[in-house]
């Protein structure tokens, strides 16, 4: 049975697209036939992050409006053969997404044998975001350890509880997972940053991924290659753990503690 997973946050710039790209790539590399859809109509970017921008011919809205077949619009990922990408349209018409059309595309993807369909939500709580979470079975709630991001994440949880089809039809609730990005264990240890346990407790969610702050994220987006493929780096390992946990593996939380610092540094700070 195919699963629809929304990657959402409310706040912009916390790493939804970065997380969607790595999550989808990770699932595909575990041999799962995966599709990832960019719901950010008018602000297409997932294609850039995955490095397939020049191969996008048709997009999500073209398929919904019947101007192209789904098979024509799906772009095969260059890194993983199990992954296909459906790009967002660059139209200004935000209402181009409608529930019936989105449902039709998801159903067709399921018929094509996709096991996981990852919906990369835009920021905010407008149509694109609502459509991305509408048919979700599970949700990755992405936040960084900042008050504004955590608050918006909580707001998003409320919207999932109210506006998802599962909630509306009284089915089993959408399974929500927490992904914390840009984490700096040293600062959390010093009390300068909300700790991962604080964030998990505030949102009452289990941690699926704890992604350390990394310069590599910019480098990867420059290259059009998802972070999870940056072999050996902490951020890549953290995304790899996240995907493994999602698939049911039990992995200890890494990168949650700072490397040891000297006594004098701890005394005087810095």
């Amino acid at each position: 049975m195919a699963k629809v997973i929304v990657v959402t946050s409310g706040k912009g710039g916390v790493g939804k697209t970065t997380t969607s790209a790595s999550f989808a790539t990770g699932l595909a590399n575990h041999g799962k036939k995966t599709a990832v859809i960019d719901f950010d109509i008018g602000l297409r970017n997932l294609d850039l992050i995955l490095g397939c921008e020049r191969r996008v011919v048709y997009d999500f809205v073209n398929v919904i409006q019947g101007d192209a077949k789904l098979s024509q619009a799906l772009v095969r990922d260059k890194h993983s053969e199990n992954l296909s990408i459906l790009a967002a349209s660059q139209t200004k018409d935000k209402e181009a997404l409608n529930e019936e059309g989105v449902k039709h595309v998801l159903d067709e993807l399921k018929e094509l044998g996709f096991e996981y369909i990852v919906c990369d939500s835009p920021a905010g709580i407008e149509t694109g975001a609502l459509m991305a979470l509408r048919f979700a079975d599970e949700a990755l709630i992405v936040t960084n350890p900042e008050v504004s991001a955590v608050r918006d994440a909580d707001r998003m949880l409320g919207i999932i509880e109210a506006k998802s089809l599962r909630a509306e039809q009284g089915l089993d609730r959408v399974k929500e997972h927490l992904v914390i990005t840009r984490y700096v264990p040293k600062r959390a240890d010093k009390g300068e940053m909300l700790s991962h346990t604080d964030v998990a407790e505030l949102l009452s969610l289990p941690i699926l991924g704890l992604i350390p702050e990394s310069e590599l994220v910019l480098d990867c987006s420059n290259r059009g290659s998802p972070v999870i493929l940056a072999n050996g780096s902490p951020a890549a390992q953290a995304y790899d753990d996240m995907v493994a946990r999602f698939l049911g593996e039990d992995r200890p939380l890494r990168f949650s503690q700072p490397e040891q610092t000297s006594f004098w540094k701890r005394l005087f700070g810095g």
Partner: protein
């Protein structure tokens, strides 16, 4: 946060963040779940307390906090000096 900061009693900002978030999230969740009775409760409490003593509206604080899995309703009342009327 260095030990020196701790010696001088400077509160780590993360704990301030956590405190502020736990209050605002509880408030917003209560609103979502139609449990926004805090305002009405506060008015009624003031009315009841004023039957026995005169208090300032500002002297009463009602907050709903979420700790782990339980909701904690906290009522703080500061009574004025010698303000209790004895009948």
């Amino acid at each position: 946060m260095s030990l020196l900061d701790m010696l001088f009693g400077k509160k780590p900002s993360a704990s301030i963040a956590k405190e502020r978030l736990s209050i605002i999230l509880a408030h917003e969740r209560a609103q979502r779940n139609g449990k926004d009775f805090i305002g009405a409760l506060k008015e009624e409490l003031i009315a009841v307390i004023c039957k026995y003593t005169s208090i300032d509206k500002e002297a009463l604080k009602v907050t709903l906090e979420q700790r782990d899995s339980i909701d904690v309703l906290k009522v703080d009342v500061v009574l004025p000096d010698g303000g209790v009327r004895r009948g």
